[in-house]
């Protein structure tokens, strides 16, 4: 059936989303991205809209446990998903990465920070699992999470205030704490 003749309901879907530990049920237009569903429909404004084209990383959330870009995910395709945002990471006090970002001055305007935090959480999980990166010398046995590795693994998150050196410092500190 051509879309023009379809009733509005055919362009909508009800989806269930568990966001930062709370279950939601919301009817969305098929075109609605996860980012817009979170921000505009559920009032979860922690993930940010930067480029909205998958180029900046500001919208990064943990989607079913993996860091993912909510601006390129359609909500209808993720019915039943569990989403954790930077806000959700702080439910029982600040996450160690959030604490270190503040202590190490790892942001200026802060717009990219929720995405940086979620991305760093996902990245530390990937590293703990033994996943290699493009700069890993031995694909079978990734070595230390040094600054070169952190930069490569965080390259999907842009910071227009160029807080990169302190972002690397903060992540390195948390990774070292994790090892102990």
């Amino acid at each position: 059936m051509p879309a023009e003749n379809a009733s509005p309901r055919e362009h909508e879907r009800a989806v269930g989303l568990r966001v930062d530990g709370t279950d939601h049920r919301v009817t969305v237009d098929v075109r609605t991205t996860l980012l817009d569903a979170l921000r505009d429909r559920l009032g979860v404004t922690s993930p940010k809209k930067g480029c909205d084209l998958g180029q900046c990383g500001a919208c990064t959330v943990l989607l079913d446990g993996r860091r993912s870009l909510s601006c390129l995910a359609l909500a209808v395709a993720h019915d039943g998903a569990e989403i954790v945002t930077a806000r959700g990471l702080a439910e029982s006090g600040p996450h160690p990465l959030q604490t270190r970002f503040v202590e190490d001055d790892a942001f200026q305007c802060g717009y990219c920070t929720p995405g940086q935090i979620c991305s760093a959480v996902g990245m530390l999980d990937e590293f703990a699992r033994g996943d290699p990166s493009y700069v890993t010398a031995d694909l079978d046995e990734p070595g230390d999470l040094d600054d070169v590795e952190i930069r490569e693994r965080m390259s999907g998150n842009l910071c227009r205030c160029v807080a990169y050196p302190n972002i690397v410092t903060a992540i390195r500190a948390v990774a070292a704490e994790d090892e102990r």
Partner: protein, 333 residues
């Protein structure tokens, strides 16, 4: 973006039938390319047929010692798979060089093969592009061509294929497993992507109702392989040029080799001429350069991309030298 319908078929056959029977229907997998294109107006479907929930998400070892990779296997999972890391380091590195970690967590094996060019004129719906709007003209010709093709282009299109993974798959002689209305078939990666000719709107040989269900990779010939990507920044950028290479060196001569290039043509480019030069020759920079030159003899640079010829030449030599040095040290990975 116009209003869309959404369907979630129960199995691959139903997905193919839906797209076959429904005008304006397209497959949706990870969405990293399609959702972007919906937003900027490059794609304008009526119906999304979501295949991302179909169980095409396993990596299976074949009885011959190769792999069958499901179309829905995420780029990140394929790169981290122990057998890929150990036996096909070229493929792991190609995957890890592509996009960003967040994108690799969503992007699928099938979608990676089908991603469309990043030519800025293709992405700008306000200006002509033969790939987006057949017959409208090519705005890249006479325009900004830093990222464009030096091999196999036509008067109709000079765009490049953006995939890294597909370059490695091509060098590995992988086959794309396709389900169409008439059943399953396998298409060699080399025959899968097209040169632009006078139909640049067709990136591949697939019909619109053909569904990629997986990729079959032959058993490894050698674990001495790698992928090197040269780009404008160290990470999270498309290739200016890239080289996938594997070599086997025995008794002082190259006895087997596979070479493929990215960033230089409308499809991943298999360097058969270069391979022919290398076979049976003693490894060394002179021979490596001779091989690169053989492949680049037919290169046709545009105003903005002549730099790619010496850059690719140097990259081929550097990659082959790296493999040779590793072979001499007795290393593999």
């Amino acid at each position: 973006m116009r209003a869309l319908r959404y369907e979630r078929p129960a199995d691959p056959q139903a997905a193919v039938a839906l797209v076959h029977d429904t005008a304006g229907a397209v497959f949706l997998a990870g969405g990293t390319n399609l959702v972007d294109h919906l937003k900027i107006g490059v794609a304008d479907p009526d119906v999304l047929v979501d295949i991302s929930h179909l169980p095409l998400d396993t990596v299976e070892e074949t009885t011959e010692g190769g792999l069958v990779v499901g179309a829905n296997v995420r780029n990140s999972d394929l790169a981290a798979h122990p057998l890929v890391r150990r036996r096909y380091p070229m493929l792991a590195r190609a995957l890890l060089s592509g996009a960003s970690p967040q994108l690799r967590n969503a992007a699928t094996t099938g979608g990676n093969l089908l991603q469309r060019t990043r030519c800025p004129y293709f992405r700008d719906t306000s200006i002509p592009c033969n790939k987006r709007e057949p017959g409208s003209g090519c705005s890249a010709l006479g325009g900004y061509t830093r990222y464009h093709a030096i091999l196999g282009a036509s008067d109709h299109c000079v765009a490049t294929h953006p995939s890294d993974m597909a370059v490695a798959m091509l060098a590995l002689d992988a086959e794309v497993l396709v389900l169409g209305p008439d059943g399953e078939r396998a298409i060699a990666v080399e025959d899968f992507h097209r040169l632009p000719g006078d139909e640049p709107d067709r990136d591949t040989v697939l019909a619109r109702d053909d569904l990629v269900i997986g990729v079959r990779i032959p058993p490894p010939r050698t674990a001495l392989s790698t992928y090197r990507k040269v780009r404008d920044r160290a990470s999270y950028a498309f290739a200016l040029v890239s080289v996938a290479a594997e070599t086997t060196i025995a008794d002082g001569t190259v006895t087997d080799c596979r070479l493929a290039f990215g960033g230089v043509a409308h499809r991943p480019w298999r360097a058969h001429r270069a391979e022919a030069v290398l076979l049976g020759r003693p490894p060394g920079d002179d021979v490596f350069a001779e091989a690169a030159d053989a492949e680049l003899a037919e290169a046709r640079p545009l105003d903005g991309n002549a730099y790619k010829i010496p850059l690719l030449r140097r990259t081929v030599v550097a990659v082959l030298r790296e493999l040779h040095e590793r072979a001499e040290r007795g290393g593999t990975a």
